[in-house]
Subunit: 385 residues, 2 copies
């Protein structure tokens, strides 16, 4: 109907707040200028708040995968022994990166739709001495699972000297990850998820221990040389031309996040999750992930007999203007995913569930109209009390 009236309910890119969009539209400036330096220093403060760290956070002009590769390139040399936790597409990406840099990967697989149990991490570390880095995924968006990073960090610290590197791309800002308090060494994030920005920037925060370890990497790197970003960053600079428009936007997005308050933001994400899960349950559809591992930033719904989830996604988009995600890899056609991260409100969940109900009917599946909405409304009213 109206192309720009679509509701983007996918796990990123997420809707961009108008104020952030306006900031991104500011007139271009010289990135070697006092104006840019002011912005670069200002966003460092805001990023420390969001990453809940006292350490340095660097900004790369690249997607989340660029930041993941930067972490690997600076911490994995040929032969470096790394434990990789794999329970979905993004765990696999860590594995592919470690292999690309010729690290010696020890893979700990955990089932799709579940998180990894910290005991299993402890066991793996005990079984494979000499592991230098553990690569984990906070929010495995391919399965809509939130891992227990606090527990994993404790297992890693107790059982080894290894660094813990966490992909928090689809979780940071939506689920707690106080890296200093939990003892996480490296956290990687992207701009287009809970940070409410367009894609194009990514972030690496690292502990002192991690920054020191980076000096030892024998892997070739130039654009991904994180210490160069850190050094330039201290002066409010970037080693190479940054995405200046997104720095404007980042400053505004961080102000919005600080304005809401990180804890309030976590609470909002949990509320949206609980609304969506209650709604899906009321529609009689199976949730792909149990309560224990349910992500606050997206929800995966399993298909059922008589429902073509790809057809559902199609009609929800074309007939009602809500864009949902499908499954990735082996989950394609088996699940659909509803994003509730970043610039999204509880009322948006009512809208999304209303559209899913309509879509189920249009896809020929007999769902009770209004029932999912009502269940979500009840969760919201309960929360407001």
């Amino acid at each position: 109907m109206f192309e720009e009236a679509k509701h983007l309910r996918i796990p990123g890119p997420t809707p961009v707040p108008p104020a952030v969009q306006r900031a991104a539209s500011k007139a271009m400036i010289n990135h070697r200028s006092p104006e840019f330096r002011r912005i670069a220093l200002s966003v460092q403060e805001g990023l420390r708040y969001v990453f809940q760290t006292e350490h340095d956070v660097v900004v790369l002009t690249g997607s989340g995968t660029a930041a993941m590769e930067a972490a690997v390139a600076n911490l994995v040399s040929p032969g470096t022994k790394a434990l990789v936790l794999v329970g979905g597409k993004f765990g696999e990406r860590w594995l592919e990166l470690v292999q690309a840099y010729r690290g010696e990967a020890v893979v700990l697989e955990y089932p799709y739709g579940e998180g990894v149990r910290p005991e299993r991490v402890a066991e793996a570390l005990a079984a494979h001495p000499g592991i230098e880095v553990v690569f984990a995924t906070q929010n495995e968006s391919s399965t809509a699972v939130l891992n227990d990073i606090e527990g994993i960090a404790e297992a890693v610290r107790r059982g080894s000297d290894a660094l813990l590197v966490v992909d928090a791309i689809s979780g940071l800002g939506g689920a707690p990850l106080p890296m200093d308090a939990w003892g996480v060494d490296v956290v990687v994030a992207g701009s287009q998820k809970c940070l409410m920005l367009p894609p194009g920037l990514s972030f690496v925060a690292a502990s002192e221990r991690a920054w020191r370890r980076m000096e030892r990497s024998a892997s070739p790197r130039y654009y991904f040389d994180l210490p160069a970003y850190r050094k330039a960053g201290a002066k409010g600079e970037t080693p190479y031309t940054p995405n200046v428009s997104l720095f404007f936007a980042l400053e505004e997005a961080l102000a919005l996040i600080q304005g809401e308050g990180l804890e309030k933001g976590f609470e909002r994400h949990r509320l949206m999750r609980d609304m969506v899960r209650a709604g899906i349950r009321a529609l009689g559809l199976p949730l792909f992930v149990d309560e224990e591992w349910a992500s606050p930033t997206l929800t995966a719904v399993a298909g059922v007999e008589g429902l073509d989830v790809e057809q559902l996604r199609k009609v929800v988009n074309t007939d009602f203007g809500v864009i949902l995600s499908g499954g990735q890899g082996e989950l394609k056609g088996k699940i659909f995913r509803i994003g509730h991260m970043g610039y999204a409100t509880p009322l948006d969940m009512i809208t999304a569930l209303g559209a899913v109900e309509l879509g189920l009917r249009r896809a020929g599946y007999d769902a009770p109209l209004g029932a999912g909405v009502r269940a979500a409304q009840e969760v919201l009213l309960q929360w407001l009390m």
Copy 2:
């Protein structure tokens, strides 16, 4: 939660499409330039399409009331006998304007919540010979009534030589008003309703007969001298500095309207009306206006025992982010109004009804959650078949 995530469900200003917003943000230009002339000539074509007329449409920099005053100033001299149809705040505005220009007003009042019956117009014209102008309201937004302009025009043409001037501010683009086909002489509109623009521009379309009649007006006028706008407009100019940004936006909005197609737009507005009315009925709340007169661009809901409508509006806004209108004048506290005009989709009605249901609960009124949404969903599914 997020200031800019509010849903503006009032009878104007209405949400502005991002493309229109972007157009309004273009760099300023000289209004005495070929670039501006190109835009001014282009929007004239688009306006003829929206007004469904072959006649000239002029653009004023001012609100809808400015265009209403311009119509009066150019058609009412001291002593001009005018029939004014009054059934709400905007009919009253015609009356106030006619009185301000010292016309001799004959008032035909019709009940709040109803439209005027064309027979009554015919009777009034017969009872008061010498009426030169009839002032009518297409969509009386204070009561959410759509008048039968086709019937009124027929009554005026049959019973008199009077010009028919119609305030279509909150209806044009949302409800049919083919002025040439129906024989309406002057149609007045504003930018911030179904035309999907910010407030600041208004429009007057006039028949040849009306343009000729304007030459006879003895009322003082300068900024509101419509023939001056018409003359300048023929060359793509404006007599005084126009709101250039809104001309950029107008060109874009007209492209969106033409892209959807006027008839499709009317259908969408009727669908939104039917969804909202079905939803309100399912919640057990009384509709203020009967089917016969129900506006496709907004719906008025009457209060009931045990419900404070002002409290409802407050919580729907603060707790759920949906902005509704209250009643105006003597209707204040007695009704609330849901806007569904311009840049709004059927799914937006699900969202609004979901919020109204939640708000009713928060305002202490026991409404059945999900019931209004379900009724609206059923209307939408029926329509899609």
